[in-house]
């Protein structure tokens, strides 16, 4: 299977004055196309930090990252932004929809802004994505008039807009009630199975983790080897 992501020796040390916090101490991550992977670990174990680094939102203290065959850790800010736009999709705990735009416009936004407008093709894709997340009847609703679960589903559609190689989701169900969380989870699984989308989902929710193909377990700033993890569980 093709590699989507290959991260080697990721180290992240936060400095606050004299105080140093070493959050990641040499993390390796490999993701193959079409995988749905859960990133688990105790609160404060560095899951969000790792996702930010892999999502090119944060520069690691050390380490190499390759995404879709491209070495990305040395790119400048502009190139990183362009890479995020073309290759990555993000879903966060909070939906972060633009309140002054409709559901359709929110979905199309990542494609429309660089292109200078919503082309008919973008509109068609945005509408089909909304259909995909079960919100075709809400396309022209202002983002503010959607429920929490609906908003998060729009956010997922938005993350898919530019056909990303990798979708990074940080606690995507953390803010939702059980039913909405279930729907969002079903949706990601569906997209993964039917469209071959590659997901790295950070969660501390066992339900979420259980629905994934495999887990990456962060302990003490390192990835715990699969064997140990299995032993531990069994």
């Amino acid at each position: 299977m093709r590699q989507v992501l290959q991260a080697r020796g990721i180290v992240m040390t936060f400095r606050n004055g004299d105080e140093e916090t070493e959050v990641l101490r040499g993390v390796d991550v490999d993701l193959a196309t079409g995988e749905l992977v859960a990133l688990v670990g105790a609160s404060g174990s560095g899951k969000s930090t790792l996702l930010s680094i892999l999502g090119l939102l944060l520069r690691p203290t050390a380490g190499e990252i390759q995404i879709a065959g491209e070495r990305v850790d040395r790119l400048n800010e502009k190139a990183r932004a362009a890479f995020r736009n073309r290759r990555l999709g993000f879903v966060f705990q909070f939906h972060h929809l633009l309140p002054d735009f409709t559901a359709m416009e929110n979905v199309a936004f990542p494609a429309a802004a660089p292109a200078g407008g919503i082309s008919p093709e973008m509109r068609r894709r945005a509408l089909s994505l909304l259909d995909r997340v079960g919100l075709s009847d809400r396309a022209d609703f202002p983002a503010t008039r959607l429920s929490g679960g609906q908003k998060q589903r729009v956010a997922i559609a938005r993350a898919l807009m530019n056909k990303p190689d990798l979708i990074i989701a940080d606690e995507p169900t953390g803010n939702l009630d059980l039913r909405s969380a279930g729907q969002v989870l079903d949706l990601m699984g569906e997209v993964n199975r039917q469209d071959g989308g590659t997901f790295l989902i950070c969660t501390h929710d066992e339900h979420v983790a259980a629905r994934c193909d495999r887990r990456i377990h962060l302990v003490d700033g390192k990835v715990q080897p699969d064997g140990e993890r299995s032993d531990h569980l069994n």
Binding site: S52, G55, L57, L58, K78, A81, A82, F83, R84, N85, R86, L88, G89, F90, F92, F94, H96, L98, P99, D100, F101, F109, P110, A112, A113, P114, A115, G116, G117, I118, R158, A159, D170
Partner: protein, 402 residues
Amino acid sequence: MFALKVARRYLTSNPAQTALLVTGVALGVTVFIFITALIEGLAVRLTDEVTANSAHVTLEPPTRLAEILRGDEAVRTEGVALVSTFQRRQIRAWRSTAELITRQPGVSALSPQISGNAFLVKGEAVQPVSVTGLEPEGLDAITPITPNLVSGQGALGADGLLIGTQLAEDLGLTAGQPVLLRTDRGGERLLTVRGIYKTGLQSLDSRVAFLSLQTARPLFDLPEGVTNIEIKLDDPDRAREVADFLAGATGLRATPWQEKNLNLEDALEAQGRTGTLIQIFSLISIIIGVASALVLSAYRRRSEVGIMRAFGISGGFIVAVFMLQGLLIGLAGGLLGCASGYGLCTFLASLTDADGNPPLPIAPERGGYVAVLILTTLGAVLASAFPARSASRIDPLEAIQQ
């Protein structure tokens, strides 16, 4: 352009706040236009007052030494004194000169005059006056006197005198009374005040006396010539070029009205500076208003902007969104302000006081509309540069973690 769409959406998402901001800008623009129209109107009124009541070009005999020693100011001044002491300066061939001038296009009136200094004596009271001897039929050619008579009448006759209200008051004179005129050439004659005028111009009303050219001749010892020829033009703005031409054609010294009213130019300049200051302040207030509103808006929207940055939308796009907001606010406020400024100015110009004149000499058509529209729009764009820049630098992680 998608950034424009986003900018518009941002502005319309809070209509009340945007309306308030645009109104603020429009107010600043209104002040700018009001001040501009007022200063311009004042300049037009002052200039009109001068050009309506005085000659546009004055022809006088050349100073002889000045012609020889052209260019040296000190010597020229001395030369004037010498000439006036030892030889009368006069225009002998004034009839042929007048004929030549009358034929020039753009010349609307002409008045050959004998001008000199004298005293008016009434009992104990003595007042210095500038005497103007002119052809009675051309009394109003340069300065409208007859329409401004407040008592008596304008027929000068052989021994008639016309004086201003202020002078009449100073000497305790009324129309019909006799008064003694004593000139600096030693002439002396008892004349009769035929009429008293009020032009509203201080110097005319307090220090000038008009009599006929024939009456002035013996008094100033000028049996044939005149001392000056005053000319009125259809277009006062052309005075300088007409003066240049006449000087060349007649060999006389020709002075345009602007050079005789240098203090008017000074006054207009001072007014202009005051106006510029107020204009600058109104522009600054517009810029500060727009900048602070957009700084606030960028702050409120920092999580939205952060998320845009997270999915890779360029800093240039964010800058464009905020600067376009500035542009739209500037344009809208500018246009609204132009409309309200024009409305205010035309309203003020339509008002009349007791005399039937507008209380403020406003020129609504001279509000500097295009200039203020451009300046306001540029200013608003400039004002948005800082918030736009800071918005474009928002760290996406910060926005996400909120």
